[in-house]
Every structure is written in structure tokens, then in C-alpha cells.
Symmetry: C2
Subunit: 446 residues, 2 copies
């Protein structure tokens, strides 16, 4: 009897777990990138505390010893349910007996997609490296401007969205800006740097208990973050944004609000919720097809109270395992127990030695929560080598306040013909060698 072919779309937490847990079948794992990304630590790459290679692992290497798992680096364009195959950008279509759709989510700009250009999000390593470089260059230019003309315009960073991503970014940015970068830029003063966290609701970390929200907000304020609650962004322009009716000048806006499931899902032709997620059956399948599963951020899966499960890693991991078991045991649809999420709690960090943790009835904050956060995240990293590297980076940073990845290298200042030629290089990879500084500096005539 031929092996069934299990196709998995997405190498994130859900897809990876499923691929690791399915046996006795041919598995094809497809991802747009060549790696599994540990997203919870992505903000640390964006703020130069970690390097990309510390939190990402090539999928091929993860499955090196699993000959039944084939890895394909490509983009899935559509899912053809009738023909039971998926169409890809650069490869032939791939047929499936079982399909697991785990493409994850992006940020939602609530209908204002044009804002993305001025307010990029943080979902991929490319995003993180881009933001890091932008941040480092902004400090360099602010320093140059102060040296050149003696005064400076305030460097304002705005983070939109007070959930875990926004809180972690704001806290990390404030810390690195003031404590780690400060000593390196002798001409900058503390109040040259402003960090603003904008949240539409009445508290940050709305998914946590109110007292932990309050503790997180207090910790952020102590680090120098200004929090604007009950504030909605009404417009984003190249030079700043409108928060309600107030204009805030900034060329460093990071979008960390809203979730929108992958556009790939529309090809399934099924009802989607407000965030684009597909409502799945209790066994995580789509209606009418007991062997097409949707898991992770892309699935609208109701908890016992009827609320959708949050788009966090432990949910995707548990769903991946659940689905893999159904496949291994070839459980008939009428024999399946519904998926039940075992709440493992939530963690969010604000910065060095500051975090909040909520696990069942347990509430932690401060140093103990931060240590728990560190331990959990280090052990969730999937490679021993990465655990060592990340742990050592954190220990180093804790002791020295020197973030480990503050290297600007995409922007190389090359004058004249050489960079012109590169600028026009249209063959193959385009290299980014002629980056324009985002903040203009008055040039002194000589």
C-alpha cells in the first residue's frame, strides 16, 4: 500500500511540529523561506540584541535525518481542493492526500495598506534586519547632526500596538537606546530619544490580567517609554502620524497591531472571520474535507467559551501535534475527539530583568518573571547550538549592556562609479549599497 502524501504549508511552529510528528507517510514541507524562524525573539534581532542566525534554522537541516520529509522552498499560490493539489510559484504543482495549512499571519493595517510603506511590521528576518539597520543609522545621523550644528531634532520612535510584540519592542528599544547606545554616542542627550507606544484599548497587554498590564505599563514608563492609551491611528504619512487629532513627527514608525491571516486562504473559498482566519471544525478540519487541516494563526478555532484561540506559538504547536496524531492513527472523522488547548499561560518581557507572566492563577512580574521568560524561550529554541548562543548573548548583555548585533552592513558608503554601477545592477540579486539616510542633515558649506 503506497504511502500517503502529507503536504504541509508553512514551516513555522504549527507546520514544523506537524512535520516532526508525522511518521509512516511522505511529507512535503513548503515554506517561502529556507528556515524556521523563532518569532518570539524576532524583536531582539530588530533591536540588535541578537543576530538572525541565532533564532532561525534551515528547514533542510532540521529534517536532514528524516528522509521521508522533503523540504521545498517556494511560495504556494493557491489550493485546489477539487484536484487535491497546491500550485506554487517556481515548482510544479504538488498533489496531496492530506493537507495541513499553516501559513501564519501578517499584520493588519485595518484597511489602510498604504500605511505599510511608512510603518513596516515585524514578521520576518528581513523586516528585523531592516528595522535594526534603520535604528542604528538613525543614531549615527543624530550624533553627526549634533556634532555638526550643536542642536538636534528629537529622534522619535513610534510603536503602534500595545500587545506583547509592541510592548517588547518598546521596552527593548528604550533600554538599548538609553543604556547601551547612550555611552557610544557622547553627543546625544537622553531626551533626544523619545519612544511612544500607541494602543487603541484601555491598557497594554490586553490579553493579560489588569494588574499585570499595570505592572508592565509602569515598567515601560520607568524605562522612558511614553504610553498613549485609548488612542487610534487615523493617518500615517512619510513624516509622521496622526494619533486621533494630534500629529506626531516621526520617521521611525513600527506597526505591531492587528493580525491578518495569510491571503493564501482565500483560494479555499470558505468563510473567514474579520482577521481572515478560516473557521475550522472541532477537529481542525475544513467543512467537507476531513483531511484538510488548518492550524496556527490561520485558523479560527473556538475555545470552550466560544472565543477564538489566540495566535500564539503554544497553540500552533499543540495543534500541530494533534493533527499529526490523527494522521498517524488514520482516525476516521466520526472517531475524532475535538482539539482542546491546554493553556500554558503567557509571558511578555519589557526589558532586562523585567517581565510579566500569567500561568493559570499564577502571576509573576519583575525579575522572577524575566528569568522564567528567559528559561522558557531558551528551551523552546530548537537547536542546542542556538540555546548556547542565545543564552550567552543574554548573559553578555546582562553583564555589559552591550547588545551583540549592532552591526550596520547593508549600507556601505561607496562613492562614484562603483556604487553607480551597483545601483544599476539589475541582474540577479540587487545589492543594497546606496542607502539614503532617513534623516536629513544640514550640510555645512566650506
Amino acid at each position: 500500500m503506497p504511502h500517503k502524501q502529507v503536504v504541509i504549508i508553512g514551516g513555522g511552529f504549527g507546520g514544523l511540529t506537524a512535520a516532526q510528528s508525522v511518521h509512516d507517510a511522505d511529507v512535503v514541507l513548503i515554506d517561502r523561506t529556507n528556515h524556521h524562524l523563532f518569532q518570539p525573539l524576532l524583536y531582539q534581532v530588530a533591536t540588535s540584541a541578537l543576530s538572525p542566525g541565532d533564532i532561525a534554522w534551515p528547514l533542510r537541516t532540521i529534517f536532514r535525518r528524516h528522509p521521508h520529509v522533503r523540504v521545498v522552498m517556494d511560495e504556494v499560490l493557491s489550493i485546489d481542493r477539487a484536484a487535491r493539489l497546491i500550485r506554487l510559484r517556481d515548482s510544479r504543482p504538488i498533489g496531496f492526500d492530506v493537507l495541513i495549512v499553516a501559513p501564519g499571519s501578517r499584520h493588519s493595517y485595518f484597511g489602510h495598506d498604504a500605511w505599510e510603506e511608512s510603518a513596516p511590521g515585524l514578521k520576518t528576518l528581513a523586516d528585523a534586519v531592516y528595522l535594526r539597520e534603520k535604528m542604528l543609522l538613525a543614531f549615527e545621523e543624530a550624533e553627526r547632526r549634533r556634532m555638526a550644528i550643536g542642536t538636534g531634532e528629537r529622534l522619535t520612535f513610534v510603536i503602534v500596538g500595545g500587545g506583547p510584540t509592541g510592548v517588547e519592542l518598546a521596552g527593548s528599544l528604550a533600554e538599548i537606546g538609553r543604556k547601551a547606545m547612550g555611552p557610544d554616542f557622547p553627543n546625544l542627550r537622553l531626551n533626544d530619544l523619545a519612544i511612544l507606544l500607541v494602543e487603541g484599548g484601555s491598557r497594554v497587554l490586553p490579553g493579560f490580567s489588569p494588574d499585570l498590564s499595570a505592572k508592565a505599563a509602569a515598567a515601560l514608563k520607568r524605562k522612558g517609554v511614553t504610553i498613549k492609551l485609548n488612542s487610534l491611528v487615523s493617518e500615517i504619512r512619510a513624516d509622521g502620524l496622526m494619533i486621533g487629532s494630534e500629529f506626531v513627527r516621526s520617521t521611525h514608525i513600527i506597526w505591531a497591531a492587528g493580525n491578518r491571516a495569510s491571503p493564501l486562504l482565500t483560494s479555499l473559498g470558505l468563510p473567514q472571520d474579520g482577521s481572515g482566519r478560516i473557521k475550522v471544525q472541532p477537529d481542525l478540519t475544513i467543512p467537507e474535507d476531513p483531511w484538510i487541516f488548518i492550524i496556527g494563526d490561520a485558523a479560527h478555532c473556538a475555545d470552550p467559551d466560544g472565543n477564538p484561540l489566540p495566535g500564539i506559538a503554544p497553540v500552533a504547536v499543540q495543534q500541530g501535534r494533534y493533527v499529526a496524531r490523527l494522521i498517524r492513527e488514520e482516525t476516521a472523522p466520526d472517531q475524532r475527539r475535538p482539539f482542546v488547548y491546554a493553556d500554558q499561560g503567557m509571558l511578555a518581557t519589557i526589558g532586562r530583568a523585567q517581565a510579566v507572566a500569567q500561568i493559570g492563577l499564577l502571576r509573576l512580574s519583575g525579575l522572577s518573571a524575566w528569568l522564567l521568560w528567559c528559561v522558557v524561550h531558551v528551551f523552546l529554541l530548537i537547536e542546542f547550538r542556538s540555546r548556547v548562543r542565545v543564552m550567552s548573548e543574554w548573559v553578555w548583555y546582562y553583564l555589559t549592556f552591550k547588545p551583540g548585533a549592532r552591526i550596520i552592513y547593508m549600507k556601505t558608503r561607496q562613492a562614484g562609479e562603483e556604487s553607480e554601477r551597483r545601483r544599476r545592477a539589475s541582474r540577479g540579486l540587487t545589492r543594497k549599497t546606496d542607502v539614503v539616510p532617513t534623516e536629513k542633515i544640514e550640510k555645512q558649506a566650506m
Copy 2:
């Protein structure tokens, strides 16, 4: 008495050493990047064995505790000897009492600058990340092609230049291609990959003794590298290159031949040698000005036999120290002893457990030379944290053959509007999100 102002152009080995060794003066250190780059290990970033952050350190952090050293990230456009100042791209001109010119060198295309587009060099982190990404993507596409149509076109990498850089690149590429990547790409066969090292002279590593050259060549051949000696490149095109009268098809040509000193030097208006270096006095100054020094790759400094010293790190480091001492002691020109280079030998590695070392009369090859190479390079790294990271990466690689930095992230496959918009983002940093695969794959119509 006011402190004299010492301006140092370039944060490489020469400039960095000088900046660290000058006391009792105001030092301004200018570099186009924000970091000191450990160039001997750059080829390992290009072949994905190390991450950028492992071999580069922000200059500001290096001098954090030296308040008399000011770091400026900018490009020097010209040197005005008469007015004793330097002109920069984004900052005001900076005056100097003492000037140390240490801008390093680039590759030389021997008059064929147009070749650079198809055959990039390896001098900066941006170069290395670009080459790494290109290499990883090439493997991915070759795999896809084999999967799609069953046969493949050979993936040929050509490295031009048989000196240490070329040899190290070729050896590393061969190793990573065959041993580390092989298991990850089940559809690729060993002879899908061809690595060609092209050298104009009669042996590789011409600076080493002939027997070590022979050992290095033998080691390269055992790793699967094809060496072409006495071969000159006569033409480079988008699809390949002409070696003599033979055409070799390749879209992966790396240029590691020839050295050309920084074009900045022409503004000094002094005689330059064939590589653009400036001939310096025995005390490393330019004629007519006892307080303008040129060190490192940019200086043509004769050894006792009249030959110019090689452009290697130990030369630049010793010159940096020598010059700093003259400045510290304010030695009058007629009191200065000439600079004498203390030959510390040369090392070159071919791959895992394979290297050659030549120190005075000592000749080593194989595993012992490789261990020496590792130890020397780890201890030359300037930060303890980096030593730990690089050492751990090498140990990991030695044990597992899994290079630590095989992450493709600049190329994110995002369809439709989103990537179009980013492609047109002309404000601020341009993000590289729409990389075109360098090797075309036949698309199968469905």
C-alpha cells in the same frame, strides 16, 4: 598647551591599532562603516559558516571607555594638505595636527571595472552576505530544477585569484557545498557542483614556499576543486567568463585577485605605485610632511630587499603601533628609526583540518597547521564574546558539518501589491524584498 588632534582615516587593523595606542591626544577615528571588520574570516561569512556579528564590532563600543577618541561614521572625500583638514560626505570638514591614512584596499580588476558587476569581490560584510545569499539560493534552485525536470545544469562557482583569499574561499565552498549542503539537498548529485579556482601564475599561494603551495593545491583537489594555473581571465560576461580562449559558463564568479588602494589617496597628489599605493618614507610619512602617515594596504613600504610589504593584517597592526609611538613621544623627524616589519609568518586555510603555515623556517600543513590557524585567528579577535562565539561555531561545525549561518532572509517571497509597494519604496532605506533567482528554472505549465 592644547592637545593635538590626531585624525585617523579607517577603522581596520591599522587605524584601529593606532587609535588604541595613541594617548594624550584627541583622536578622531573615521570609518565608512560603524564597525571594525575582522577580514581574515570574511570568507566564512560568505560561505555561511559564521554570522556577520561574529566578526565585526561597533567602533563606538570599542572606544566606549576612551573619551579622548571620537568615532565618526562617514566617508572621507579628500585630504587637503595645505589647509590640514579632511573633507567628508555628511559632516563638516575636520582639521588635524597629525593624520594617519589607513583606508585599506579594494580588489583590482586590472582596468576592467565593468567586470565587477558579474564578478563581485569580497571586502565588506555587505559583500559577504550578498555572496552567501546568492550561494544558498543557487542550491535551492538547483534542487527545485532537479525535482521539476529530473535533470540539472551544473552549478559552477568560479573564483578568480589563487592567493589566500581565493584558496580559502574555494576550499570552504567545496567543503560546504559537498559535505554540509549535500545531505540537505537530496536531489543534487556531487557532480552537479563544480568549483573552479583560476590563477594567473604558476602556483596557488605564490607568497608561500613552493612545497606548501603544492600541499595546498593537493588539499584543494581532494576537496573537489579544479585548479587552473597559468590562466588569465580575458573577459567576463553575464553568463560566464573567458579563461584564455576557453569559455566557462557560470553565474557565480567571485573576484579575489589583485589589490588596488583606496581612491581617496589620489587627493594627496603624490606618486602611487601600480596598485595605487603611495610610496612612504622609512618612517611611514609622506614626503614633505612628517606628521601625515600612511599605513596598511594603502602604503607602499619597502622591506630591506626593496620589495613592498604585503597587504596583510600583521603589517598594518605593527605599522599602527609604530606610528602611535612616534606620536606619543613626539619624535622629531630626524630622530626617528625606520619602521621594520617583524615577520610573523603566514597562514592560509583550505578547509576543515587542512591548512598551511609558514613562520620563518617552520613549515606546517594539515591538521597541525589548521589548529594553529584556528588558535591564532580566535585570539586575534578583539572581543572575548566573539572568541567564544567563533570558537563554538567552529567546534560545532567540526563535529556536525552544519555551518551555522545558512539563513536566507533578504529574499522573502511576497506576492502582489505588498512587494510591489516595497519595491518602489524610495524613502529611506531600500529594502531588498524582491530578489530575482539567478538561475532560471523552466516553469511547468499545468
